[in-house]
Symmetry: C2
Subunit: 990 residues, 2 copies
């Protein structure tokens, strides 16, 4: 019964906003009123015949609008007999045919079979769209080839219906005051706001006031509750696009191709593209005040010069939808939190710089008087050498390997936890202010590929079991059997990729070993002295190049492998793709770093018993200052190089190149055609942009960067700084891309960043372990501690270097491995860095007690560090509530307000009804008497005693009036519905 | 507008079910129709005067029903002038007064002031309840003292209204087939079902069929959708109770005492108790077929003889609500999963038993030929001893300290993860089948104590700032300042309790040291040989007693401390209480075990340099077989003792005692009164039961048990078995308590087990670390491994015992500590268990290389174990999806069906409207012509072309008819509403 009412209401609203909007070129149907919410594009093939001149003369206007007008009842009754059969396909077909006769007569072109088929599919699909309530406009222009646009418009009733289904939350008229801070807090926040002023983008804030509108799921029964000023703007463009996409997604093509949704049709090539259109050009031409959202975004957000400003996240969300909004919000939070991390990193680095001249171990290493004669670095060709020649690396090592680094590693582990917790809170705040609380996941349709494979399977099964009369519907889904080959290829490919990565790393190791061996043999002393630097630098660059190449390859391979798995839904697909791509890219980016951190130099053996690869080359050792400095070099070069190259070449260069190529092509084809006279419409402009292809690459880049910042941060405290610098640019780069270079993506609702959060959190946990191992095994922190507190006679670090060096009797060299031409003639004992028994001990060259002692200390440190940090993380996560307190309070308040509003409404309704009945039934009020034991339904109580304990909001009065108005309208006999009015007016017109 | 319709519908339903139900004594009002949903009890004080005989003669019936009959309009109009002022308190007061005049005239007793005040409060409260729609019945009987019962009944409209507010999900008429497994799976499940048959309780399963009814939040607009067979049974008793409780909870007492809700009134002593009543007696008297739910639960669930059966969880939930249902479901899952753990535990123990005779270390220890002379166990009095005398403990040690234990520790860590994951799934399944998906947390009112303190604060503030004219509403909540003293006492008390626990542990240590020293000095050889056993056993028993006593104390202290914190809501209170109680009880139960596992024997020093406490007593050492066997004894005695004593004494004994005492008291008071003739009503019986006091103690007991099962499982593989045996009894014990000994609790909705899950999961994580340390540090597993692979000449364990014993030169004993009277005369060197350098080494008695090597291995094992298990746990948690696949599919299906139902409904509505208008407006159908460019709202499309893509469910037809019927009813002019009918009939009656 209430649909009367909603009909009435909707017609009222429809009626109230008929002023034509003419601003914005190419954003509306030809009538200048109906907004283009979505565009479908297909490519007209070149060899279509020109249509007959008769039809051209009939349609004078360049555009024809095919809308869901009323079919004549005769047509409907024609269809009626088929209705009972319940074959939706058949019916849809007949509707489609009707449509073709009526509206699309001019489109009948004689194309080649496949093209013709596509044409039919398009016809059916669009007919079904019209049936679903959308309105369609097509180019009527003569166009033998080139893109052909079908514009879709969702009228108000469709928007209402879908908004109700999608449970879109919209603001109601009820607003409430946000709690103001009082006293000190208030003045603080004022100061803070003033300080922040220059960093705020110049965007009109509707949400940042002192009041917030209560929002509620859209419902056509409750139209009077919402703040509807104009039916055209009540749903913003992004929401409209989403609603239309929702219809496109579920519209079936039963007769011609048995598919569901636009994405399948695009996959089949029936359409080329489908996208909502941008809000207009992004370049501001007129007044600054009349900027559309895209222009505002371009001016205030997508500019490098705005790098110091906050992002206008609410506007981003309004324009691009929640999913993209969340990405940028996440990126913003990450970048913001990198600031303190960078500052602490700089301080830690500064501490290293400041203490390098007072650090006893490096002083001892540089002290030429101590005169440690070290064993040669290669067999035969190399000579003994003095430790003081490695003074440089020792000093450099200290920059990164000092007690502050341990503090920094703990700090960064907690920072990662804090970052995640902070993001959780921000996410909740956003989903609250974006009215996403309580939304459910939308159901998804299978992916096109899944459907194709399923169809094939059914057909195969049918062929095989024709005689057995098995029910076809038994095959409802693909089982693991169908996916087995896919899984098999998956596992083997991933293993192969792993192998590839490892062999690449190994190849670089071989390169390093051989080149350094060769260079060491060279007679040029200049070459010899620069061996380590040259080899390390070139090897890292080779590594970097390999990583960049494999990164691209792995991206493609992951996509291919995921396709092979035939995931059912898009979400499924995305998740699997992300996992695979992450695994491969992570491996790729970090394998060489892991090698340097944990394996390099640990399998080199000892003098007299070296480990050889290929029987010839000795395994490489770490620099005398420790492996940490090499790790640091490796890390910084790969991180910087990757970011710079990926940002510049892959994100700026290649898109520019692609655009250039496309523009050239367009020009070429345009030259053969006759020139278009009219200015390009918005959909033409948008079609020329690159399609939006998901956020996965953007997230992936950041996650890998997060790895650099968190995983090995103990070895490179400047990583957060470099990440920060990169991200400040990255935000604007991405923003530019979204605003100017991509078609507008469909606004997808999303509550959170999904699997990325899990990856981040897993990485955070992993980083604790890695950092623990880096500090205890790669750095010299633990040996120094052990020396100071267990072995040092004076309690200072003096003598540490001597303690770390073992003795080797040169007579124990294997034949041929001793230096051929030694400048140090009379050497009997050389030193090497290890904890082993001296030659004069009983078990010479075995690990000494110190070795085990240091090892135990290292391991104990790992346990301590890991559990301490894990415990602290838990405490941090527990102390910081996931949902900010203010939000909890506001949610409670909103809920209470909502109940109040509904209770008030109910009361008003009953009052109204009573007054109606009172008029009708002429009851004598004096005869009402209380009869104990008699029960009446409770609502009656409300009408006689309206202000019960639940009353008490101020906004009920106006609503009651609005409600009363509509009731009284209805009570003077059923008025003609809008539909009937239309029909009546048409009667007279016809 | 749609309220017309819902009114109609509800009146229809109300009309259809007026058959009186007379079964069940004392479950209904005196009219035998209206169910008693809730009972409020207050105690009449003895010195109330007897009311006047005039009133007694007026009411002939023993019971008077005060229901929300219609007030005369004059009364309503009297109230009307006050309505606009918006002072709910004042209005409620006037209503209350009206009520007092009309219904409660007979209750006016002249009691003492406080009693009189309470009487007024009760009057106002009950008047407000009536205003909220509840119906009330009171004892009219003369009763000078004793409990006085106020019965509440919620009529259908109230139930409907509240069900809508509370978003209670109810089954609709639409049902769907659950997917049947086909082929092999189907036959497997049949076999499984058959096998399971004897374990199933004999409860009628409505849910276990092949179909499930779609459920949807109750809404009065959609009454036609629900499967309402009778308005009396549509909401089950638990739901009715909950609804009434909801009203009781939010009903204000503005005039007399400014409180909200029944709990405050109970806290103030205005009422003694408030509870829903049981479904009748739990003893089956009549036919087995006609058992009420309570009887079914008693027969099939709350019996020890049903221990092998599954629990009828659905029925438990139906009767006691979701929260208690979840507790028993959780307990069931836990107990079930203990079965495999017990089996593996038994196997592991069996492995120990089977290999004890082939185990080389224990054989070597028992081998008298090896003849290790050990250093004395105490100073002076003790003699040197032979290791072979400790053969028994060595053999016993092997039972628990063997390689299988390591496997078992890993297994149990994964088991804990599996248990939690399994429970998560079960929880989701339950919340799906109990229709809890998507419920939100109910808002809670502040606790009485919080309100009192807040009021005090306000008054204080008002007094202080009377002149400053500050707004009173500024004080909205208690801040940290108000709670500071509470927090302070909290922290200091908890620290004190910790100290208490530790000193208790320390006291037992002292007891052990002194007693064993004294016993060692005793001349009796019998005493001497039993030193260790006697001391250990008595010490553990002392420990146990201390634990049990402190456990009770800590429970009370936690309650007291939480009250001091003044938490705002009940949930808040519960959470804080649980955390505190858990912390204290955990500490208490595990402190002695932790001591034995990780500290005992580690600070004993070495011969010649022992550590002394109180300058006299040597710190205790572990048994020669390792500390593990002592840990095992400690653990098993504490666990078993705690469970047996707590189960028997605290859960069975004390309640029985309490009951006895209460019964005695009752009898005493009854003797002074005159005998009651009529049989006790259900509310009398229920009032005699103990009130329900929350699930916290039940959960706490199980969580502490879970600790025994998981934390130290490496040392005692039989723990799961004992836990299993205990829990099988525990379930039935708790069930018995709930069914027979407690008042019916209000059915509380809960989605999950709340904070307990976090505690469990935290404990699972903690157990990984603890087990890692137990294996590597408490057991001899690592030293054995190290010996076998690094030091053993033969690669076997031969010589291990020798290797673990260090040498000590007896000449190095400090003066007076060497044995006074040694039977072994010529001993120069004795052995002790440690890795230290021998006396003849350069750094004698320092830790040897082996020590560091073993230490490194131990630490490495901890790292390996911890990270391996954590990784495996992550994998397990990741592999097992949180939501079972079938549930995901069913949820999707339900959602789709629901959309279909609503779409169909909408279509039907419009068809109906059209047909109505078609009749009214006499439109010519032939004039419908398609006008391109004209837009009509989409619903019109549905009416002309009803079978669009969204159609296709079979159930729409009947619903459409049902809808149509109601519409047609409505279309013949507005019929009088039920209210009006009542009024009309009363007109004639009066």
């Amino acid at each position: 019964m209430h649909i009367f009412y909603s009909l009435l209401m909707s017609s009222q609203v429809v009626g109230s906003t008929s002023n034509p909007q003419v601003s914005g070129v190419g954003l509306y149907f030809c009538d200048g009123q109906r907004k283009v919410d979505y565009v479908l594009v297909f490519h007209q093939r070149r060899h279509g015949s020109i249509r007959s001149p008769a039809t051209t003369s009939v349609s004078q206007d360049r555009l024809s609008i095919v809308s869901n007008g009323n079919f004549p009842p005769t047509g409907a009754s024609d269809v009626a007999p088929a209705r009972g059969d319940g074959i939706p396909g058949g019916e849809a077909a007949s509707v489609g045919e009707v449509f073709i006769e009526l509206g699309a007569a001019g489109e009948n072109e004689s194309t080649e079979p496949a093209e013709h088929e596509m044409h039919l599919i398009r016809q059916e699909f669009e007919a079904n769209l019209i049936e679903a309530g959308l309105e369609i406009e097509r180019d009527r222009e003569l166009k033998a080839h080139g893109p052909s646009f079908t514009r879709l418009h969702a009228p108000w009733p469709v928007l209402c219906r879908e908004a109700e289904f999608l449970k879109i939350k919209v603001p109601t008229k009820t607003s409430y005051e946000l709690k103001e801070e009082s006293g000190f807090g208030s003045s603080m926040s004022t100061v803070w706001r003033k300080l922040n002023q220059p960093f705020q983008p110049k965007v009109s804030h509707q949400d940042h006031g002192r009041t917030k509108f209560l929002s509620h799921c859209f419902s056509r029964d409750k139209l009077h509750l919402y703040n509807i000023t104009s039916k055209d703007t009540f749903f913003d463009n992004a929401t409209r696009g989403r609603i239309v996409y929702e219809i496109l997604r579920r519209t079936v093509c039963a007769r011609t191709c048995q598919t569901i949704g636009i994405s399948t049709l695009i996959a089949k090539g029936v359409y080329d593209a489908a996208f909502p259109i941008h809000d207009g050009d992004y370049k501001v031409i007129g007044h600054l005040e009349e900027r559309n959202d895209r222009q505002v975004l371009h001016e205030e957000w997508a500019k490098y010069s705005a790098f110091y400003k906050y992002q206008p996240i609410d506007l981003v969300r309004k324009y691009f939808g929640e999913k993209i909004g969340l990405y940028f919000a996440w990126l913003g939070v990450y970048t913001q939190l990198l600031i303190p991390a960078s500052i602490v990193g700089i301080i830690v680095f500064g501490y290293g710089v400041a203490t390098v001249d007072t650090n006893i171990p490096s002083l001892e290493m540089c002290d030429e008087r101590l005169n440690f004669t070290m064993c040669p670095l290669c067999d035969g060709a190399c000579d003994f050498w003095h430790l003081s020649t490695a003074c440089g690396t020792a000093r450099a090592s200290h920059l990164f390997d000092n007690p502050a680094t341990v503090f920094f590693a703990i700090f960064m582990s907690l920072w990662a936890v804090l970052f995640l917790e902070h993001w959780k809170r921000r996410q909740i705040s956003l989903s609250f202010s974006w009215d996403l609380t309580g939304i459910e996941e939308d159901e998804e349709h299978p992916r096109p590929r899944y459907e194709t494979i399923l169809l094939q399977k059914r057909q195969r099964k049918q062929k095989n079991k024709k005689k057995k009369k098995k029910n076809e519907s038994a095959i409802e889904k693909l089982t693991w059997k169908d996916r087995l080959p896919g899984y098999f290829i998956n596992v083997s490919s991933i293993l192969f990729m792993f192998g590839l990565t490892f062999s690449a790393v190994f190849g670089v190791i071989i390169y390093r070993i051989t080149v350094s061996a060769l260079m060491a043999m060279s007679p040029d002393p200049e070459t010899k002295s620069n061996v380590r630097v040259t080899v390390t630098a070139t090897a890292v660059i080779i590594n970097l190049v390999v990583i960049l190449i494999l990164d691209e390859i792995y991206g493609a391979v992951a996509l291919w492998l995921t396709e092979l798995e035939i995931p059912k839904t898009e979400t499924n697909f995305e998740e699997r793709l992300i996992l695979k791509a992450f695994l491969l890219k992570f491996m790729n980016a970090y394998a060489p770093i892991f090698y340097v951190a944990f394996f390099k130099g640990r399998f080199a053996g000892r003098p007299g018993n070296y480990v050889y690869v290929f029987n010839d080359y000795r395994m490489e050792e770490c620099a005398p200052g420790g492996c940490l400095i090499e790790l640091c070099i490796q890390l910084s070069i790969i991180m910087l190089g990757k970011q710079l190259i990926q940002n510049n070449i892959f994100e700026i260069g290649i898109p520019k190149l692609k655009k250039l190529v496309r523009a050239l092509k367009e020009k070429e084809s345009a030259q053969t055609e006759k020139e278009e006279e009219r200015p390009p419409q918005q959909w033409n402009l948008d079609y020329a942009l690159a399609p939006f292809e998901g956020l996965t690459p953007e997230y992936m880049e950041m996650i890998i960067q997060f790895g650099f910042v968190s995983l090995f941060v103990a070895s490179f405290p400047l990583a957060p700084l470099f990440a920060l610098l990169n991200n400040v640019i990255e935000i604007r780069l991405d923003a530019k891309k979204f605003v100017t270079e991509l078609r507008r993506p469909v606004a997808v609702r999303a509550k959170d960043i999904g699997i990325w959060y899990n990856i981040l959190s897993g990485m955070g946990k992993f980083s604790v372990i890695i950092n623990a191992f880096v500090i205890s095994f790669t750095s010299d922190f633990i040996p120094r501690l052990v020396y100071q507190y267990m072995y040092s006679q004076t309690g200072t670090m003096h003598g540490f270097i001597d303690h770390t060096l073992s003795y080797f009797n040169v007579s124990n060299f294997k034949t041929g491995t001793a230096p051929h031409n030694s400048e140090h003639g009379d050497i009997t004992v050389c030193r090497y860095k290890d904890y082993r028994e001296p030659p004069w001990s009983a078990d010479a060259y075995h690990f000494s007690k110190q070795y085990w002692c240091v090892l135990a200390a290292r391991l104990a440190f790992v346990i301590l560090f890991q559990n301490l940090v894990m415990f602290l993380s838990l405490v941090v996560a527990w102390v910081i509530p996931d949902i900010p307190k203010t939000i909890v309070e506001q949610l409670k308040r909103e809920k209470k307000l909502l109940v109040d509003v509904f209770l008030q409404e109910e009361k008003d309704k009953f009052q109204l009804i009573q007054s109606l009945f009172a008029k009708d039934a002429n009851l004598q009020p004096s005869s009402h008497m209380l009869q104990p034991g008699q029960t009446i339904p409770i609502p009656g109580r409300y009408s006689t005693l309206p202000s019960g304990p639940t009353s008490g909001d101020g906004g009920g009065g106006t609503r009651a009036r609005c409600r009363a108005a509509s009731f009284s309208q209805f009570s003077r006999k059923a008025p003609p519905s809008p539909r009937n009015e239309n029909e009546n007016s048409r009667h007279t017109a016809v």
